[in-house]
Point group: C2
Chain length 425, copies 2
């Protein structure tokens, strides 16, 4: 608290001139979040500036300041979305410095305070079949037209891309991700694949077209299934891909390969036992599988605002929690890759496309929605860079499976980056 300077400017008068109590609250709040390198400003122009601040956060009314003080992690998102808190400067950089401050503050807490924090922490409820469907519709059925405005053109991947080179395009990164997954699974022509949570069908189409496999894909989002079916028809892949509008817990049949990209974060750890049973039931005796999911550095709930307002029911697992799927079934983990810097980069791409289409999205879904999503995307980018979010790709196999290559060198043969120009848009 030594290296900031305060200034008083004649106020706007919106909620009157800030009082000594308001300014005391502001200073306390600043301490609680670990004194990040951001300036703070009140509605009347009163400001606390840092010498090396990356951005400034402005409170537009007294109630916003008070609410944030009493429940910062939840209310910040809502207040930002409503425009009652504004950020001047990079939103990602602001969130990064706040995450760093919070981590520093947490480290300085004693054991008891940390234990209390864990006990009082927000816990999302587990997902029943019915609730899972509601949660997914809240997020994924916002409209295909909305997602088309800022996801990659070819495969509509609403999951982390893979950047073989730092400056490759979002389209290239998403194709590289799909190709990397197929290489990890070492797909062979004629094999059968079951996909749990298939999004707009990009992975299944890529696998069928480039690797000659047959895919059965489960998804509980009606608008995604409809889009995926139409797209498979257009690309003449309807006879090798079957889209099933159902919960993946109801998978029937046996397959050479199980694959799931961006679904596990919605499942909830209490359902991992059931998911393990499902995989065990549907995988052939020498089968193998792959799960790509957002994860946490240690077992902890997602940010409460994200979980309640953006992704209802989301619960990214720690790596130990993920093992609850595999270890009770004697499924051997072959390879784990943490792609967290790739998700930060993917989110930056999404954010800049989102900004480029801000006017249209505002017309579609309103200003509050746009601000909430910009915060969600920026905050996630920051959490992948400096917070606890991870991106785990886990390759596993039946103990008896001897078909996977014994080294990973084949993953890095040429073609990860060059695949893009071949794809029709």
């Amino acid at each position: 608290m030594t290296d900031y300077v305060t200034s008083e400017v004649s106020g706007s008068g919106k909620t009157g001139k800030s009082t000594a109590a308001d300014r005391w609250l502001l200073r306390q709040l600043y301490k609680i979040v670990g004194e990040p390198e951001v300036g703070l400003e009140l509605w009347d122009g009163y400001s606390m500036r840092r010498q090396h601040q990356v951005a400034a956060v402005k409170f537009n009314d007294r109630r916003a300041l008070q609410r944030l003080f009493f429940k910062p992690t939840y209310t910040f998102g809502n207040l930002y979305a409503q425009g009652r808190i504004e950020v001047r400067g990079s939103l990602i950089a602001t969130m990064e410095t706040i995450y760093r401050g919070l981590a520093k503050h947490a480290n300085e807490l004693g054991e008891t305070a940390r234990w209390l924090r864990r006990k009082l922490a927000y816990r999302p409820r587990p997902n029943s079949l019915r609730r899972a469907k509601d949660n997914i519709q809240t997020h994924y059925d916002l409209g295909n037209d909305f997602y088309k405005l800022w996801l990659d053109r070819h495969y509509m991947q609403y999951t982390c891309g893979y950047f073989p080179e730092p400056d490759c395009s979002l389209e290239q990164a998403q194709i590289a991700k799909l190709e990397l997954i197929c290489r990890k699974l070492d797909l062979q022509p004629g094999e059968t694949v079951v996909e749990a949570g298939s999004g707009w069908g990009g992975l299944s189409r890529y696998m069928a077209r480039h690797y000659g496999v047959k895919v059965r894909a489960y998804n509980i989002s009606p608008s995604q299934v409809e889009y995926a079916r139409r797209q498979a028809q257009i690309e003449n892949l309807s006879d090798v891909i079957e889209y099933v509008e159902d919960d993946c817990r109801n998978i029937s049949g046996t397959y050479d390969v199980f694959v799931s990209v961006g679904m596990l974060e919605h499942v909830g750890t209490k359902n991992y036992e059931t998911l393990g049973q499902t995989i065990d039931r549907c995988l052939s005796d020498d089968g193998r599988g792959f799960i790509h999911t957002i994860g946490q550095i240690s077992p902890r709930p997602l940010n409460e605002w994200i979980e309640r307002r953006i992704f209802p029911g989301a619960q990214p697992p720690s790596l130990a929690e993920m093992m609850m799927i595999f270890e009770p079934r004697d499924l051997a983990v072959v390879d784990v890759e943490n792609l967290r810097p790739h998700y930060a980069k993917t989110l930056e791409h999404w954010l800049s496309r989102f900004a480029a289409n801000e006017e249209e999205i505002t017309r579609m879904l309103g200003n509050e929605f746009v601000r909430a999503w910009q915060l969600y995307l920026a905050g996630s980018a920051a959490a992948f860079t400096t917070g606890g979010l991870q991106l785990f790709q886990v390759l596993f196999k039946r103990n008896g499976c001897a078909t996977l290559p014994v080294t990973r060198a084949h993953l890095y043969r040429p073609g990860l980056l060059q695949a893009c120009p071949d794809e029709a848009s």
Copy 2:
């Protein structure tokens, strides 16, 4: 039990002619181990042959058969070492088919029987500082001359090698393993490394010579430390490597890199919290680390005979158990590679060199020792191929560390295999 044929031959009479009770016992034993594709033979020549048997197991006396029946997983090793059980055919193939049979039998058990098996399973005691030292001396201080007879010439690596090509030599595979570890850690000249459990000093010498780092290496085996110090002197590396004869729980100082190869399997899961604290204490704010260890497909004790007779105190962890080191300290897991087929291959190399030096080893340590170790090496190879043993390489970092490469492509640049000819023997 349908496809075997029995035959009676006039017996040797060593413990008399086999009785109906002996033969009943033999059949029950055969069922218990899941009816593997091995023939069985009694001391008097009575035999049960399988149509497609990979080998034959012979009991040389009645007591051997009885003992095996009542405690098969523990007594088999002792009886084999004593020559009271003999195997005709490949020892690895025999152990593989037995492991497969046992897994099949376990799958057929009900939930209650499996629960009872887990409850009754052998549990090794955790290692105190004193006990750890005793345990390690039992195994590693058998004499450097003994290990020199069958380990690789250059670096005396008594851990899993890495075979970039299936037919590369043991020497090449061990150098490739050392190089792979350095690449995973992305070592930079001038950095400081602390090593926990340094064996005969091969990794520290490789790191210091090829990557220009300074290493402080902890080991509780006096004969290994003595060898490592002498070797560092010979290679003019004494000013950049310090060998400390002490338990790694006593590590002092802070370092850019923590590395441990082939030690964690001796630590015991109850000590992981302490190990996590040690790593947390000794790692710089943007530090990274690497652990290479034998693991299990799920939490379970090591084979009792191996744990009691060969590796006292050994307790390979499951991946979830390993996470107890990292997750409470917010150390992010970056990369996990399971090298289990590479360990099977390494063990085959060791076994064949062991066999080539059988006479000399017998002179040094006796016939029973030689038979016990051949079974241990062959049984381990089989457990890595068909049983529950895994080999985990885990790369981790402080949450704040941003120095590691974002893809793994650099691991597979040329040089993994070519490094061998440059090394002086």
